[in-house]
């Protein structure tokens, strides 16, 4: 292990840590994936779906990043791109200071040991022919752990996710409930002792009481195993509960990012505001009569010019159709940034501040 010479070994530092505390665990820059649409006589590429278009974000060590957005906005594709289950067209992923899949960087195989994923469909993500023990021990075995040690690890992990090892090791997925299966999936993801776990709608299919149990389990595991989470969900309440920071996506783009307090307390992008107002509320005084958002998201094969949200935005003006808004920092302390012309000083939008002192403006790197 080659540590950087400048880092000072802290008392309870993770031995797997390479970049130091200030180094984000994951840095994503310009991630891009266009899926080709094949058609015509010779199955040629006739168009492309712009699933993930120039997405950049950081995940700090030990934090939980929530990713929200409508169906089809590229949340799951982003997760699969990070795991390299899909090859990105462009962009770089830097895991704790090491470029994934780059020369002198981290190999994809090693990255997969440090980064794991839990899928939404708890049934489809378990092999029906393997016992729970075999399923959990599979990953460690692939990485050269001996059979016995892998089985011991599987038993220990079952205990950690709240299932009695003696009752569950020999059982098959179809004998378990949805909540139990998702616990198995979590145990399987943790079997490689990863540092980052991506949850792709991992609790969406569970009923509310089981969902609450699993969320608490995730919080416990995160504390006990010093994990970092990327939590993808369309349930804004769940994201608010579990996340430290939130990333809002729309049609393959990041439209707003910031701490939970900033996003839920002071949303700046009209899309985020619409999303939040669509959240069900228990308060009859907050009854909404007009829909927060109308229509479907535009076709990602041919997205709108300029700002992608302008076709559904109540504040859209001429500048929105011509210029694509960059992600602009709106409040530095809360790491709050939004991609909206109304937030960019001097953008030409009538609601934007016409001129601003230069030291306050600046794009997110």
């Amino acid at each position: 292990m080659a540590y950087a010479a400048t880092t000072t070994p802290a008392k309870n530092r993770d031995p797997r840590d390479r970049g130091g505390e200030a180094q984000p665990l994951l840095m994503v820059k310009g991630l891009l994936k266009y899926f080709p649409v094949l058609g015509g006589v010779l199955n040629r590429k006739v168009a492309s779906v712009q699933a993930v278009d120039d997405v950049s974000f950081d995940v700090a060590k030990g934090e939980t990043l929530g990713v929200v957005g409508e169906s089809g906005c590229g949340k799951s594709t982003t997760a699969r791109l990070l795991m390299r289950l899909i090859e990105p067209d462009a962009g770089s992923v830097i895991f704790d200071g090491e470029g994934v899949g780059e020369q002198h960087g981290l190999s994809v195989r090693d990255m997969r040991r440090s980064m794991q994923m839990v899928f939404q469909d708890s049934y489809a993500s378990l092999n029906p022919r393997l016992t729970i023990e075999e399923t959990i021990a599979f990953g460690p075995k692939v990485h050269g752990v001996s059979g016995k040690e892998a089985r011991d690890r599987a038993r220990a992990l079952l205990g950690k996710v709240g299932l009695d090892p003696n009752l569950f090791v020999r059982r098959y997925p179809h004998e378990l409930s949805g909540g139990q299966r998702q616990r198995i999936n979590i145990a399987r993801a943790l079997a490689l002792e990863p540092r980052l776990v991506i949850f792709d709608e991992a609790v969406s299919a569970l009923d509310k009481s089981v969902e609450a149990q699993v969320l608490n389990l995730l919080n416990d595991l995160k504390r006990d195993m010093s994990l970092t989470y990327i939590f993808i969900s369309h349930d804004l309440n769940v994201v608010r509960y579990i996340s430290d920071r939130v990333l809002v996506m729309y049609l393959g783009k990041v439209v707003e990012t910031g701490t939970v307090e900033a996003i839920y307390g002071n949303p700046r992008h009209p899309y985020t505001r619409a999303l939040l107002s669509s959240m069900p509320s228990m308060d009859p005084g907050k009854r909404t009569t007009a829909p927060a958002l109308t229509g479907d998201p535009p076709n990602p094969i041919n997205p709108p010019s300029g700002c992608r949200f302008r076709t559904r935005c109540a504040f859209a003006e001429g500048v929105c159709a011509t210029v694509e808004p960059r992600l602009e920092i709106v409040a530095d302390a809360e790491r709050h940034a939004a991609a909206c012309h109304m937030e960019i000083a001097g953008s030409g939008h009538t609601k934007a501040i016409p001129q601003l002192a230069p030291q306050l403006s600046g794009a997110v790197a």
């Binding site: 795991m83 489809a124 092999n127 393997l130 990953g139 692939v142 004998e175 399987r188 490689l192 149990q213």
Partner: protein, 295 residues
């Protein structure tokens, strides 16, 4: 373990686990039709294997004076054929060749077809296209015609008919294996295995094979009956085994001329083909039901 326990929530109840195969066996045990078919098949297969001990007389021994005797003739419980040979002994010995020609091509095709289908389904893309379009070429011919054409080209004989029937059965098995593999490959557990860092070979061995071989095996069991009928057909046409070998299809052919003299005896080889193939079919249906884990 801090965990929210909601009031009135039922705790996870422990259930003793059974293995996959033992649960298949348990379901099979309650299925009387399948059990009955299995017993009948077992009786036919065992009597074919132990034919020299089971058969009452020599199946090749001819006699001019006792030709085409009725069923129930003393000493000849199932009568005699057109050359005076004992039908019961010939039917027992005939099972050897008929079952061999019915089962061997299917086993061969199971190995070749699964391999091709799994590779095509798992790799996809151009390799899939090459394999599956080649397989489609064989679909252009009806299976009977294809078997006759290949047998005719290779010449009559036991080995050649097995080869020709193998070629006939590879395409359908490849198709089934390919379609099942394609659907399994897209399931999340294969993605999860890839996310664990496993290579393609490990994923095929651990995650794909177990899920694909079950359905393919059941499908192949159903093909055995077709194979027996086709093999009999080849022998009937003189493209399979040659007289005086006892083989059900060939016996049906040689007894054809005597159908007006003693129709009951002449129908016996056909009855054997019918019983064997229907038992294989019913057993395949029973296996399919028993192997469905969600049942």
């Amino acid at each position: 373990m801090a965990e929210t326990t909601l009031p009135g929530m039922v705790p996870d109840t422990p259930v003793a686990s059974r293995g996959y195969w033992s649960s298949v066996f348990r379901r099979l045990r309650g299925d009387w039709v399948t059990i009955f078919c299995l017993v009948v098949l077992l009786a036919i297969i065992l009597s074919a294997i132990f034919a020299p001990w089971v058969a009452p007389v020599d199946p090749y021994k001819t006699s001019v004076i006792r030709r085409l005797k009725d069923i129930g003739t003393p000493g000849f419980p199932l009568g005699t054929d057109e050359l005076g040979r004992d039908m019961l002994s010939r039917l027992i010995y005939g099972g050897r060749l008929s079952l061999l020609m019915g089962i061997t091509p299917v086993i061969n095709a199971l190995v070749i077809g699964s391999l091709l289908g799994i590779v095509a389904g798992f790799v996809g893309g151009k390799i899939n296209m090459v394999i599956m379009r080649t397989v489609d070429v064989f679909y252009a011919f009806p299976s009977v015609l294809l078997a006759i054409a290949i047998s005719g080209a290779l010449g009559a004989g036991l080995v050649n008919s097995i080869v020709s029937l193998t070629i006939v059965f590879v395409p359908p098995i490849t198709r089934v294996a390919e379609s099942v593999t394609t659907s399994v490959r897209n399931l999340d557990f294969v993605e999860a295995a890839r996310a664990s860092g496993a290579g393609s070979w490990t994923i095929i061995r651990v995650h794909v094979l177990g899920n694909v071989l079950g359905p393919v095996f059941v499908f192949a069991t159903g093909l055995i009956s077709v194979s027996i009928i086709l093999a009999s057909g080849l022998s009937f046409l003189g493209l399979g085994v040659r007289p005086p070998e006892p083989e059900w299809g060939l016996m049906l052919n040689t007894l054809r001329q005597s159908i007006y003299v003693n129709p009951w005896v002449c129908a016996l080889p056909g009855v054997m083909i019918f019983i064997t193939s229907i038992c294989f079919n019913m057993m395949s249906d029973g296996l399919r039901a028993a192997m469905d884990v969600r049942a």
